[in-house]
């Protein structure tokens, strides 16, 4: 999709769509939303929908960041305590590395 060809209203629509899709546990879409609409939110001269785009973009960004933190924390916890958890650790592992 070439964003530059869209009208401002359409941009807002896309932004809203991405914002909503992100709630389906899809943080990557929020991240896309955040970076993709950077120009519209921060560089372009003011237009009607900008305020709303900014709001959605900010929320998407925060959501993506929270997700990222949660995922990183989980990875750290999982990697460090998998062996300690014993059977439970094995059960939630898809591939068990040999020798550890």
């Amino acid at each position: 999709m070439d964003k530059s060809r869209l009208s401002n209203a359409e941009k807002l629509k896309v932004c809203q769509l991405y914002y909503k899709l992100g709630f389906l546990a899809l943080p990557a879409i929020w991240a896309v939303n955040y970076f993709w609409f950077y120009e519209e939110a921060c560089i372009h001269p003011e237009f009607d929908e900008q305020k709303e785009i900014r709001r959605l973009r900010r929320r998407s960004g925060i959501g993506a960041a929270i997700w990222l933190i949660v995922i990183i924390m989980w990875v750290i916890i999982f990697q460090t305590s998998r062996i300690k958890w014993g059977a439970f650790g094995d059960d939630i592992s898809f591939i068990i590395p040999t020798g550890s």
């Binding site: 014993g86 094995d90 591939i95 020798g99 550890s100």
Partner: protein, 909 residues
């Protein structure tokens, strides 16, 4: 464009995967022969032994002779990772612990030559073997390790009982030791300047799949939903072997009492496959066999026996009494030996165990309870019989201090069972090599007499005498009668030779046992995972059948196999060695711990043995030359140089194309060109590589050179104009040798336009040809120079083929074929099928060469078995042939001078 790239990459990958990797690997690494690993074993709560990382542990070799060396490598060594090679005197638990705790040490190689005069003791086993099982197992938890430990504490104690995070290998191969020492002195000395040189390093691969404990690894092995099921570990197990003197009846009979005579069938060691177990196992095992044989012969005519004697050999006793605890478990369930007429624990009137017997002129018996009347009577008879041979039988009974023997499994269930354990030791083992690789013939002072008379004071005569005395006592116990025949010491000698020296022996052949080859042809008493049969157990089963088998006359082998005994539990076995049909009551029972039978048994409980052996994929030790970190700094600069070189070639080439159009002659251009690059170094001679590990075979070189000259002559007569761009190429090649992938940009540059043969510029061919010439000149730098171009050539070929015009295919192919054959001229035999050829490349480009049984291309298939050199030479020749072909093709179509304006435009675009 994309297509071209894809082809290049495909060609490249294909060539790498099918041809070169193996050869490069062989060139880079020297595999150390005859190295034995320490592997990982697990029980219900812990893991023991060694493991490497997934891809093997790498470290610079350091020879450690004394504590100074050790301190240096631990504290002041400059490199990040080392592998320590040491002798037994430095192989103490304390030192290993230090090495293990250091992040810098990645592995240990124990190098001990076979001369062992200076080795006075080595037992990596626990000071109290099977510390937590037998009588010590729950619920009794009886302490049998105090007041004194059984296995004397030394600096090696408990090495087997620790989880090392580094691999430990052993070698006694003189050649390997010399190799390591030589390379260490050649490359790694002096120590101070290690950072500045390439160093000799080892890569130890012994990655163990299992971890944590048996519970974990068994659970993981059984996980059903795993997409890639892996066996992480396998329970230890094999067979117990038993034989009653009087066969068991099938029909119900009045309850009979049994005297059980037992010994163990296994031993162990720190190193996988090196468990000779002469004193810990073999002597008692042979004593039991000869006793059984004599007693069987004595009682063959006995009509009514008071008691029966059951000989049992327990397997896996080194690992918490696997075999005996299983027999006890089966007896309690009423399943030993069969579900009909089972023998219970209470049917055992006397338990006799033989353990660690040696030629001491005395035998010491242990019993948990003070001898009751049964035991006293038996001892009295045995004493009388043994004294005839000058063997003293004395007691060492102490209430709690009971040795770690199989009888403990029975005592754990029936503490008041009458039992005697005959040993060579009192309150501490006299075996200085218990459960180690040195528990061999030297340890028991055994020399094979090979049929000559047996000396009086020898292990053979001791075993013969004691087993005679034992058999007589047992016979007396069975029948109340005296006996007088004796055990033949020569038979004992043959058996000991089998069980101590080598399993490929006369006795094994006599008992019809066909020896499977073992890696080192050494005896191994280690029980192993239940998947693998232990050779010792199989041999012993054969021995029992032959020693305790009744010869029955049958008409044929088939009849022997189909014989059935309706009254007794026996089976018939046809012996090829003696040509007889033997009926025997010998049988086996599983020596697998009950822990693995009982559903939902908690392996950590400690009631039964829970030992498993980790799985592994690959075990080896390889030596190679590791570049120094400073050397890498130099290497890092090289790509820049290469970049600029390619740039120069490209610029010069483009300049020449422009200037030629402006009317400049080649001579003029060349002059200017040389001025422009006058300061740059030329590579006159082939580079000498100090670190070259292998010379090229001279024969191959000559062959290659002949062939090359032939091609060159043909080539040069056809293409008169040779550009001199080549010395740029030549200089560049020196750099290219370090990394073959760098050759790609050149070819990519030359062919990036995706041109067809017709508008293929002759100068480009010339350039390639010159590259080829230069490579030829540098051929003796075998490893670096040849490999890269071998790969390049492949993709060159691929490229040219796919661009051949379709309508000319068949004609061209036949020409190509003729050409190839004429060039090769019987150079290489071994024609191969095209199908396999196609498969090798897995690429349809090759299809264009249908029906070509080109002999040198055939060679591709032999890549794996031949030296890298020859093959690469052939690759180059092949390439030249292709160029030649292209040349012919171009000439036929008018030659380079007749390029159409459109084609020229395309070239110069």
């Amino acid at each position: 464009m994309a297509k071209l790239l894809a082809f290049i990459i495909c060609g490249f990958i294909a060539s790498c995967s099918c041809t070169s990797i193996k050869n490069v690997h062989d060139q880079m690494y020297i595999r150390l022969e005859a190295t034995t690993p320490c592997v990982l074993l697990l029980n219900g709560t812990q893991s023991f032994g060694c493991t490497s990382s997934r891809n093997g542990n790498v470290g610079v070799i350091h020879l450690v002779h004394n504590s100074t060396d050790l301190d240096w490598v631990l504290n002041s060594a400059p490199m990040d990772s080392y592998i320590v090679a040491l002798k037994l005197d430095m192989f103490s638990f304390k030192n290993l612990k230090k090495l293990n705790d250091s992040d810098r040490i990645n592995g240990v190689l124990l190098m001990q030559n076979v001369t062992r005069t200076d080795i006075s003791y080595f037992s990596p086993e626990d000071t109290c073997p099977n510390r937590y099982s037998g009588l010590a197992a729950p619920p009794k938890h009886r302490n049998t390790c105090e007041p004194q430990v059984w296995n004397p504490k030394t600096m090696y104690s408990r090495i087997s009982m620790y989880k090392w995070k580094m691999p430990i290998f052993f070698t006694d191969n003189a050649q390997t030791i010399e190799q390591v020492e030589t390379y260490f002195h050649q490359f790694n000395m002096p120590l101070e300047t290690q950072l500045e040189r390439s160093l000799c390093a080892l890569k130890m691969s012994a990655h163990m799949y299992a971890s944590v404990d048996s519970t974990t690894c068994i659970r993981r092995s059984n996980m059903a939903y795993n997409i890639n099921p892996v066996r992480y570990c396998d329970p230890l197990g094999d067979d117990n072997i038993w034989a009653p003197v009087i066969p068991f009846r099938r029909t119900s009979e009045p309850k009979q009492k049994y005297i059980v005579v037992a010994a163990r069938l296994d031993s162990t060691s720190l190193f996988f496959g090196l468990a000779p177990g002469a004193l810990s196992t073999a002597t008692s095992l042979v004593t039991l066999l000869s006793t059984a044989q004599l007693l069987f012969n004595l009682s063959s005519n006995v009509q009514k026996a008071k008691e029966n004697v059951l000989f049992i050999l327990f397997n896996g006793e080194a690992y918490d009494y696997i075999g005996s605890s299983r027999v006890v478990y089966d007896m309690n369930r009423g399943q030993f030996p069969f579900t009909e007429n089972p023998i219970g624990l209470d049917d055992i009137s006397l338990f006799i165990e033989l353990s660690q017997l040696r030629n001491d002129r005395s035998v010491i018996y242990h019993s948990l309870k003070s001898p009751d009347s049964k035991m006293s009577t038996f001892l009295k008879v045995l004493n009388r019989e043994a004294e005839k041979f000058g063997i003293k039988v004395s007691g060492d009974s102490s209430d709690s201090h009971f040795p770690p023997v199989s009888f403990q499994s029975f005592l754990a269930q029936r503490e008041n069972m009458s039992g005697l354990v005959f040993t060579s030791y009192g309150n501490q083992f006299t075996n200085r090599f218990y459960h180690s690789l040195y528990d061999d013939a030297v340890n028991v002072d055994y020399k094979y007499r090979n049929g000559s008379d047996i000396v009086a004071d020898s292990l053979q005569s001791f075993v013969a005498n004691f087993s005679t005395a034992l058999a007589h006592s047992l016979y007396k116990e069975m029948t109340d009668e005296e006996a007088d025949s004796t055990v033949d010491p020569k038979l004992v000698d043959e058996m000991l030779h089998c069980y101590i020296d080598s399993i490929s022996c006369k006795f094994a052949r006599e008992v019809d046992y066909v020896v499977e080859s073992t890696p080192y042809q050494k005896l191994d008493y280690y029980i192993g995972a239940n998947l693998v049969r232990q050779q010792i157990a199989m041999l012993t089963r054969h021995a029992f059948v032959h020693l305790l088998g009744r010869n029955v006359s049958v008409a044929s082998k088939d009849e022997c196999a189909s014989r059935a005994n309706s009254t007794h539990y026996t089976h018939s076995y046809w012996s090829d060695a003696s040509g007889q049909c033997l009926e025997t009551a010998t049988n086996v029972s599983d020596a697998v711990s009950p822990a693995f039978l009982i559903a939902n048994y908690d392996l950590a409980e400690g009631l039964y043995s829970s030992w498993t052996e980790s799985s592994w994929y690959n075990i080896d030790v390889q030596m190679f030359l590791q570049p120094s970190p400073r050397c890498c700094g130099v290497l890092l600069q090289k790509p820049e140089k290469k970049e600029s070189w390619f740039q120069t070639v490209r610029n010069e080439y483009e300049r020449w194309q422009i200037e030629e159009k402006q009317g400049k002659t080649w001579e003029q251009f060349r002059k200017e060109f040389e001025e422009r690059h006058s300061g740059e170094k030329e590579l006159e001679e082939r580079p000498t590589d100090g670190n070259k590990l292998q010379e090229c075979p001279t024969d191959a070189k000559e062959k290659g050179e002949d062939l090359f000259d032939k091609i060159r002559n043909q080539f040069e007569t056809r293409i008169p104009r040779l550009t001199k761009l080549f010395f740029l190429v030549r200089d560049g090649l020196a750099d290219l040798f370090t990394d073959f992938t760098d050759m790609v940009p050149l070819y990519y540059h030359l062919w990036r336009e995706n041109r067809t043969i017709q508008d293929f510029d002759l100068r480009e061919l010339e350039l390639l040809y010159e590259v080829y010439l230069q490579i030829k000149r540098m051929l003796p730098v075998c490893f670096f120079a040849i490999l890269p171009l071998g790969n390049i050539v492949l993709f060159t070929v691929t490229y040219l083929e796919i661009n051949l015009p379709e309508e000319d295919d068949s004609k061209l192919i036949s020409e190509f074929r003729d050409l190839l054959l004429s060039v090769q001229d019987g150079q290489v035999p071994n024609p191969i099928e095209l199908a396999s050829f196609k498969e090798l490349f897995a690429d349809d480009q090759i299809f264009a060469m249908e029906n070509v049984s080109s002999s040198h291309l055939d060679n591709l298939l032999t890549l794996h078995s031949q030296a890298g050199f020859l093959i690469k030479v052939n690759w180059l020749d092949e390439w030249a042939s292709y160029l030649h072909l292209v040349d012919r093709y171009v000439s036929r179509n008018g030659g380079p001078t007749a390029l159409t304006p459109e084609q020229l435009a395309k070239v110069n675009k």
